[in-house]
């Protein structure tokens, strides 16, 4: 019987590494994340923040990225313009860019225990979460 591909629900932004995606899948089989370079043949790489956030909402994807102030600000702009964004999962600045294992553990733990059941539209979460 042919295995059905897992439907992606998380889109890793380009400032994250492909190694994050690989690490997540090592921890959780079929973890529903895809890197933006591999999504839609990479055609979303050229999108600016606002366009990407709106596109994510339309595709039912929450965006996973490192926190940079402009991204949540653009999410607010999208809302004020009457559009929706698909949700943001942002790694706090304490998380190193190359700490793929730490990133994967934070993301998979959060997703498995909480995130998978949430309505992600217009929601922003920072990892690690506040105590």
């Amino acid at each position: 019987m042919k295995e059905r591909p897992t439907q992606s629900r998380l889109l890793a932004d380009e400032n994250t590494s492909h190694r994050l995606v690989s690490a997540c899948r090592r921890l959780v089989k079929e973890f529903p994340i895809v890197h933006i370079a591999g999504w839609q043949d990479g055609s979303w790489l050229g999108l600016d923040d606002a366009a990407l956030l709106i596109s994510c909402a339309q595709a039912g994807l929450a965006l996973v990225a490192f926190d940079r102030a402009t991204l949540p600000w653009h999410a607010g702009q999208v809302l004020r313009a009457g559009e929706n964004h698909g949700g943001l999962v942002l790694f706090r600045r304490t998380v190193r860019s190359t700490a793929y294992g730490d990133q994967a553990r934070l993301l998979t733990d959060f997703w498995v225990h909480e995130g998978h059941a949430w309505d992600w539209v217009n929601r922003i979460v920072y990892l690690p979460k506040s105590p």
Binding site: D49, T70, S97
Partner: protein, 185 residues
């Protein structure tokens, strides 16, 4: 004030009007090649250089005058864009001149708005130059940085070359993006 501090970081349009001086024919002079300007910028004896020649000095910044004629429809287009951006036409033209000259000098680098002002990033990608530099500082290796982004090496070296040429601009971009309080927890 060094050359770095006079880059068109700009803040969202219209916040860098001090980087542009209004027309004054007495300040006109020949323009320099960008490569010459950049080379001289590294010379400590050349502290008053800017990206265009014909130096005008005031209390805060050295600027220069450039001019050129364009078909009328482009003047109308720029005027419309300046209104939309709530800035002056001359400020917008100055920004276009500076950024386009830098894009030509550093192929693959482009500029976009960010909370901290105009920000250098990799064209056709979503990654800012300061983000490439941040990964490079962690990995201390061009190869490992290349592997991190899954890019060709040239993209990384271009970003690092720009960061090396304009360290102060990149530092400010990075601080502007990372020194703020998250909007939610």
């Amino acid at each position: 004030m060094g050359t770095q501090e006079r880059l068109p970081r700009g803040a969202p349009l219209g916040h860098w009007s001090d980087a542009v001086r209004r027309e004054d024919a007495s300040d006109r002079g020949p323009t320099d090649l960008m490569a010459d300007v950049l080379q001289r910028a590294e010379d400590p004896a050349s502290q008053n250089l800017d990206f265009v020649h014909s130096v005008h000095k005031n209390l805060s910044v050295s600027t220069a005058y450039v001019s050129g004629r364009v078909p009328a429809r482009y003047e109308r287009l720029i005027a419309r864009q300046a209104r939309a951006a709530r800035t002056s036409k001359s400020d917008l033209v100055a920004r276009y001149v500076i950024e386009k000259s830098l894009e030509t000098e550093f192929p693959g680098i482009s500029f976009r708005d960010s909370l901290s002002g105009r920000e250098a990033y990799l064209a056709r990608h979503r990654v800012a130059v300061w983000e490439v530099l941040a990964v490079y500082e962690e990995t201390k290796s061009v190869e490992k940085t290349t592997a991190h982004f899954h890019w060709s090496r040239v993209l990384v070296t271009r970003a690092l070359a720009y960061a090396k040429a304009f360290p102060e601009e990149i530092r400010k971009s990075r601080e502007g993006e990372t020194d703020t309080v998250p909007v939610a927890g």
